[in-house]
Subunit: 600 residues, 2 copies
């Protein structure tokens, strides 16, 4: 996470100003085409994700108005589209489902509080300049989380896909949901299955053969982009066809039903302290996931155009978008992978395409809501399944196995955690494991015993080079800072080194331990205690402790704790100085007594 | 955490065998004296901590029998005494208090389950060889936790000290407890206050002037130890005096009352799956805290005698002791700082002193329980307050401020967390903050742009040395592994380096970026993605990426992901090789195209 904004002008805070300033007339047709394409994909997705989140259909459409427009004005990305997304919908369901019944007014009220919290948290991260915390959500944690969420979402859509009126709670885990499905298997509706499976097949076919509709020898470039966009027309197609079939033949399947026409009204979130406190932990997780997903999509698209996006500005933009969602009766929004891709592939040049998309949503809300009366749930379920199927990625995990096994472990722990312990617990398990695995490495630091290379001022590992050593001196280079996770191990290993030096048995002859601190960036208090304890322990067996090659900041640290008062040996500038002093004085070194006050 | 056991003989698993084998007749008087001294201190502490934990008085005494004896047989420490301790008592109260009313049979039943879980977790940590996890409890986390717990415990003892029949719940936080006290302030019992405050003053006096009772010119050595032990006789003294005064004058104060005589019976913990699941997270925390405290006391005492203790064996010993606690109706045990100190200071040479102490407890349980009928709560509260006052340490925090501020922040966050969010939450907050602070360091790695030192094969930071550089080559040494917490920052900073090289403005002349990986110990998948993305991004602006000085394990990692297929430059053995190749070919380097398949 790094600030890339250097200027402090208004356009830094409102990137749309720069867009407007440099807008060229020839950009407009591109933005309009892209905006319309995105708008057509947005409508079915917005409705489908709203239902997944446990909200009325219009809440999904509202999430594409104020939030999307606000984001377009504030974002440093040119093509990123925010709005309702599947992962955030699942997280909302698992959070709010604990507090109210799905599709109720109370549920919607709690959701708007959650949106507000997500927005405030993102802006707070920016204000405190601690946005770097999102880096804790590593690649394997995010992919394990997305894969786990994808499986849960697909399971959750099997009921509407087959016409079962499910009784699963929104915060149920994978196992419970499957149990509910199995119990209700007699209730399947063949018409719903036909519509649902037909939609899945049609979307797969469009994805597979749609791009071939544009003839082109060149598989990349603008033609390639248009072909890509064509491959994503499936959801619009099945939504229109599905609605028409149900209306035309009067089929008996679950449909969205009447959706109130009109634009969202200003809603003020509840001010219930207990509710705010209860929701806050989940709001933090939703905010982090929403930001990581949005930022990585934005970064990918920007880098294709050799642009950069500003992580700080993106925090503000996504935060403001979520506050907008809260005030307009919508639910938490994030960057949409599928819609941003379509936007980019359809040739969008500026955020103006998002504004065009918003116009499509407004038109839909004003005049097209009656059409939803015949939009079947089975088709929407198919739309959701296709969308999350594209998000899931298990293949790269196999590749990772040979590269870095710790990440595969993290991935599967997160994945299993999401499935069996819940969405939020899974994410926390993943972060915990990735942190522990990382720290395990620095908890077992590399220690090299070194000797002098001939008569040079260079020193090398005794295991790998022919170097000169002296029986009364052990010199050890420690390739890690001294801190709480490795202090205990360092103490044991340094003490053992004197019993069994790596360059052969020297019996009880060792008089000096020289620690070469060239790789020590800091010492924490646990590391300091260790150093003092080891010094005293060695003093009792007649070994003096010396330090050398101390970096500036560490030298300052040690001066604050009066290292000269408790160190039994000396602090040398370089390893060469130390070897000169300690080998010339062989057997003659008189080390100082441990001061009484420092004895433990 | 490091295994120190090398032999595999029975005596490795049962250290008492080695003790018995080498036991000398002259050790016995020392062990008997120490055992009696510890036993006298143990009785009042055991009763007081049991009441603090919400348990009947005898549960505290039981905790000094089976657990202490089992530990003495298994521990590699010679003087560590385990049994009831204040911190574990508080953690038991805050855990079990959520499930049952204090001092009830149900409460005791749940406590034995908790003891069993603590024991099993410790043995599991040993079996899985993941005992190193305790290192996550760093020095400042433990000290913040102990200080917070000390404050809560002292507040909790103000009610019995002043004779108020408190209505605080055992899992209440500091604020709630104070509020309850303030509301009940009218109920104070002057007799109780006199006894309590009198006990406090007497103990302070003994601590201050007790050691002077032994005349000695030498402030250290065996005499000093005896003096120290004398300073700790206060609790026994006030217990005996307090009981005598209440019995003699028939004072009207709260007393312990009748305690059933006799030894503990075998109890089998409840097998209630839901209860086990609910208690498990707290059991993990109690196990970790109990182990860290015990191990650090044992390590300190062992190092004074130039012995070592085996962390693996200590996990087993403490685990078995807790299982023993569970089966004998006691609560989780840990190493006692005050009793282990008295044991050491009174001259204990082997764990035989703990067995002598156990005999004292048996005698107490068989014949002295009637005396508890007149033991006033106010005196026990004073005993607890003095014990935890000694554990608390705020002075070292001030010293730490100048040494390493992160640790002070961690300390106070843990301290405040314990006081205001609860005992367990405080501990988790502390661990989280210490981990995040540590990772923040490696998340902002040091990057040195280097140049050639004259015509030598040595390369140094351009900021600190007069070195030769070439306008078309930027060579950067990164002093940290590439992993999830720093991938984003590294990408930004390396890209910026090409825009504004640290050795002056080179405009658009840069053709090569050389990354010197001598300090990179591993790359995780997030780091790999970054490296690939940066390579492609630089390729678009005509800059080739080269790597050199790659360590063996990292080289293996990169070969698994076919680095030659996607790297736009070359992999060199040494920096010297790289500079030779890249500066000789100045302007003539033809870098390979990015393979189509790798374009993002």
């Amino acid at each position: 996470m790094h600030a890339m904004a250097n200027g402090k002008g208004l356009s830094t805070y409102l990137p749309i100003i720069e867009v407007a300033r440099s807008y060229r007339r020839e950009d407009l047709p591109h933005d309009v085409v892209a905006g319309v394409a995105v708008g057509m994909l947005t409508v079915p997705q917005a409705v489908a994700y709203a239902l997944l989140a446990g909200l009325p259909a219009q809440a999904g459409l509202y999430a594409c108005l104020a939030p999307m427009v606000i984001h377009a004005l504030l974002s440093s990305s040119r093509q990123l589209i925010v709005g309702p997304v599947a992962i955030a919908a699942l997280m909302v369901a698992s959070t709010v489902g604990q507090h109210a019944a799905a599709y109720s007014d109370a549920y919607l009220g709690i959701t708007t509080v959650l949106s507000l919290q997500v927005g405030l948290i993102l802006i707070l991260l920016r204000a405190l300049q601690v946005g770097g915390i999102v880096n804790l959500l590593s690649h394997p944690v995010i992919s394990g989380f997305v894969n786990g969420a994808a499986v849960i979402i697909i399971i959750s859509q099997l009921a509407p896909l087959t016409g079962i009126a499910t009784t699963s709670r929104l915060d149920d885990g994978a196992v419970d949901r499957i149990a509910v499905l199995v119990r209700s298997v007699a209730e399947v509706n063949p018409t719903a299955i036909a519509l649902g499976v037909g939609s899945l097949l049609l979307m797969a076919a469009v994805r597979r053969w749609g791009p071939a509709l544009v003839r082109s020898g060149n598989r990349t470039g603008e033609d390639g982009d248009v072909r890509q966009a064509l491959g994503r027309t499936g959801p619009v197609l099945v939504t229109v066809l599905g609605t028409a079939v149900v209306a035309g033949f009067g089929l008996d399947v679950g449909v969205v039903g009447s959706v109130p026409a009109g634009l969202p009204e200003l809603t003020l979130p509840l001010l219930d302290a207990q509710l705010w406190w209860d929701l806050a932990p989940n709001a933090v997780l939703i905010a982090l996931v929403a930001f990581v997903e949005s930022y990585s999509i934005g970064k990918t698209l920007a880098s294709r155009q050799r642009r950069r996006i500003d992580s700080h500005q993106e925090l503000v933009a996504l935060g403001a978008a979520n506050i907008g969602a809260s005030l307009s009766g919508a639910y938490p929004v994030a960057g949409s992978f599928s819609r941003s891709s379509v936007n980019y592939a359809s040739g969008a040049r500026t955020p103006v395409s998002a504004l065009v998309c918003a116009v499509i949503i407004v038109l839909t809300l004003l005049w097209l809501t009656p059409l939803f009366a015949n939009l079947p749930h089975a088709v929407l379920a198919a739309v959701v399944i296709v969308a999350v199927y594209e998000l899931a990625d298990f293949r790269s995990v196999v590749r990772d196995w040979r590269f870095y096994r710790g990440d595969v472990l993290t991935h599967f722990a997160t994945f299993a955690g999401v499935l069996f312990a819940g969405v939020e617990a899974g994410l926390l398990i993943g972060v915990g494991i990735s942190v522990v695995l990382f720290m395990r490495g620095s908890a077992r630091p590399h220690i090299a015993v070194v000797g002098r290379l001939g008569d040079t001022p260079h020193f090398r590992n005794v295991k790998r080079y022919e170097v000169r050593t002296w029986p009364h001196l052990v010199a050890a280079r420690i390739d890690e800072s001294f801190y709480f996770a490795n202090a205990d191990t360092l103490e044991s290993r340094l003490a053992e080194l004197l019993d069994a030096p790596e360059d052969g048995d020297r019996g009880q002859a060792v008089e000096h331990l020289l620690i070469i601190m060239s790789a020590v960036n800091f010492i924490d208090t646990t590391g300091l205690e260790m150093l003092k304890r080891l010094t005293h322990r060695l003093a009792r067996r007649g070994v003096a402790m010396h330090l050398c090659e101390i970096k500036g900041p560490v030298r300052d640290q040690l001066e604050h704790v009066a290292v000269d008062d408790w160190l039994t040996g000396r602090v040398f500038q370089t390893t060469d100085d130390a070897f000169n002093a300690l080998t010339e004085a062989a057997g003659k070194w008189v080390w100082r007594d441990v001061p009484e006050s420092e004895k433990d």
